[in-house]
Symmetry: C3
Subunit: 320 residues, 3 copies
């Protein structure tokens, strides 16, 4: 996949996963996001993607992620097409590839794809015409690379660029989480000091130990002296299966409460990709408390997505 | 609520209801709408809100009102985000306030809210971050302030700014109408000469007499010598309850026919917020007749919404 | 209808069907499309419709056609309003004409209408205010004029402007196809050398012979020495009626396979309005083969729609 993502000259062409990224490539994207963030402080529009067309292809609903991508494109002055997938030609029996080809023929430049099937964005990228880019906005359990980038951006902002000094815990349903997978890869690339993965045994795949992570069943132990805690959203529908006890029991064992947070370092930051289940994986007082950077994550997500879009479309940053 | 709407320096920050407005404040908004209306006569775009983002949050469907708000924002060069409320994160269990906070974190500046619950827009305004404004596009039976402003704009245009000279009748289901509530408040603030409220007894709350209005059960009596008649839309679903007789019977007693209109002054203007039930509350020949200003109301609605948006976001009017 | 389409000075005001067009009028539109196509080669935006508002009124779903129209409008810098017809005021009992009037009062300039009823676009045009234009994006079985124009554009590009030299076959369900109707009219206006209409007897109306076309039941005979083959989309729902045999049987008799295509001239171009049923009316190897210009049709569709929009709104082409 990394050969699909990068052009021979090292230029990012698609963003499908964090797989294959080098530390400098991640930092370059974060630097660009930082530049864009300050230049849009006054909510100014930048002409970087003027005349470009961005297609939003969300086969899975996600108002929040879709909105940040569309806003990021608008702020860069691109035209945005939101394809109503439910009523699209694919219902008339047209293949996805024919739909893609038709949109390419209309001079669309960038496809933002979310799909329930792992590998969907890669499938699009593999068949995209020259000059067309694909961004993965979440595919099955596989990857959510812009979320990982915005999480790294947020950590770097608060803790500096030397990830080797940091102790990070990711807590929750790691088995089904594409956010966790992409965060783990990104932290691993950036050489995180210590990575702790925490959750019910059934939701904690052994394979993650390959990334040098330690697996914890006990949240109290795992939180000790952490610099960063990333709480995952609990997919309530998992509850119905055999995986999980009740919501109350889940909160008792894996919910982040104020008293529990005291086990981490005093300046530990608390992150969550949203939307949150307050009182299930996180206490409201923690979500809104002084250690929480959850709102900053949303705001950083906009800057990071602008940076990724401008980069894959080869837009040079101009003086605004 | 008026303390929520206005900043300490008197600047309008949110528009939630007409409650608390002073006559000069209403006239200032109408003056601004008048200026915008003439400057966009050639359908020109103004750069007043360039770089600003307006979020359209319609929990109740209303193509017409939603479209005017979104067009008003576009004409002022704002970016518009239409949140598909039906498929939004609130369905995933996220609270409305978390959705609001996420959108604020994406640098959204203005929320246009329509909701079936009275007080919904105020709820949003109460929790909005500094620098973020909320416009009420209709909440339950409570208020529809931009409709009231465009109605006042239309009356002023035809009858002049001295409302003390005017005899105005509002006809229909006043009990359930947010348009009526906001119109009554606005007319009262502007010192209307005489206000007549007309409808079936069960739909005519006594409390309205507090505004100095007279209550009428007989439309013929009420129309006598009126300068302005505002017909309300009949919510057909009310018909099923005990409130109302059949549509035919309603038209016979409260429908505005050509012959009935002759009871008013010859230059009486006829208004309706739309969409109309032709043949139920108003005859087609009146709706399309020489006294009707119903199409002007729609057109004025665009100018008034542009004025309100520019005002709450503190955009100074520049020479276009 | 032609008197409705053209102003007394010959200026195109609405585009409802190809009926009434003169050859020079078609060529003028294609010339303008060609100019726009080259000036937007770099996906640049043109300011031709800046400040204008285009309303997309799709009563029938069609992601592909709707998207090209909306993109065409955006590329010309117009504001685009997509009316969600399913949830519009017409559901509240408002008449279509009142909806149209309200949108006109908001200074909307151009309505793009698709509707299942033949004559729907004409109905809108007949009631449109002065200065407002209507484009037919497909009405029932009646007409799809922008598709015909983009098809003529594509043929002209490959075969030159002298249609008298050309032998063209249109293949499939001609009875129900508005594309076929508009293509036949356009080819007839442009003086096509020979026109062959091919399909199952029950789907081949005798009336088409009036256009000087020859009717064929046998595809092999009809393809002989053709310069252009236009394959029609098979509406699968027709299959249920008595009209057609199975899909397999249809493909065997009327599907365009590689071996069959050899009966036409070697440089014969293959066209299809999309979306395609691969393996039903056309083999995948033909759709993606060297004679296929199907992707070009999509791309040309954008240019042609930009040309039509700019023309009906009287936008003079400026130096971009």
């Amino acid at each position: 996949m990394s050969r699909l993502q990068f052009a021979p000259d090292g230029q990012l062409r698609h963003l499908l996963s964090i797989d294959g990224f080098k530390p400098a490539q991640i930092h370059a994207l974060l630097d660009r996001a930082e530049g864009l963030r300050s230049s849009t402080g006054g909510a100014r529009k930048l002409p970087l993607l003027r005349g470009k067309t961005v297609v939003s292809l969300f086969f899975e609903n996600s108002t929040r992620t879709r909105t940040t991508f569309e806003l990021a494109a608008s702020r860069l002055s691109a035209d945005v097409v939101t394809l109503d997938v439910a009523s699209s030609s694919t219902k008339k029996g047209e293949s996805l590839l024919d739909t893609l080809a038709a949109l390419e023929a209309m001079n669309c430049d960038l496809f933002v794809v979310r799909h329930a099937a792992s590998g969907a964005a890669e499938f699009f990228a593999r068949h995209a015409a020259a000059g067309v880019s694909v961004l993965n906005a979440g595919d099955g359990r596989h990857a959510h690379p812009t979320q990982a980038l915005l999480d790294m951006f947020t950590i770097r902002q608060h803790k500096g660029a030397d990830f080797g000094q940091l102790r990070v815990a990711i807590v929750g349903d790691l088995l089904h989480s594409r956010v966790a997978r992409s965060d783990i890869q990104a932290l691993s690339v950036l050489g995180v000091g210590e990575l702790r993965l925490v959750g019910p045994r059934a939701l904690l795949p052994d394979a993650f130990a390959d990334f040098g992570a330690s697996l914890y069943g006990d949240l109290d132990l795992a939180l000790k002296d952490c610099d960063v805690v990333i709480m995952l959203r609990l997919q309530r529908e998992r509850m119905r299966g055999a995986f999980l006890p009740s919501e109350g029991e889940y909160y008792r064992r894996y919910g982040l409460s104020e008293s529990r947070l005291k086990l981490a370092k005093p300046d530990c930051i608390v992150m969550h990709p949203g939307p949150m289940n307050r009182g299930v994986e996180i206490a409201s007082s923690v979500a809104d408390g002084p250690n929480s950077v959850i709102q900053e994550q949303v705001s950083n997500g906009l800057a990071v997505r602008m940076a990724v879009m401008a980069t894959v479309l080869g837009a040079r940053t101009v003086q605004p």
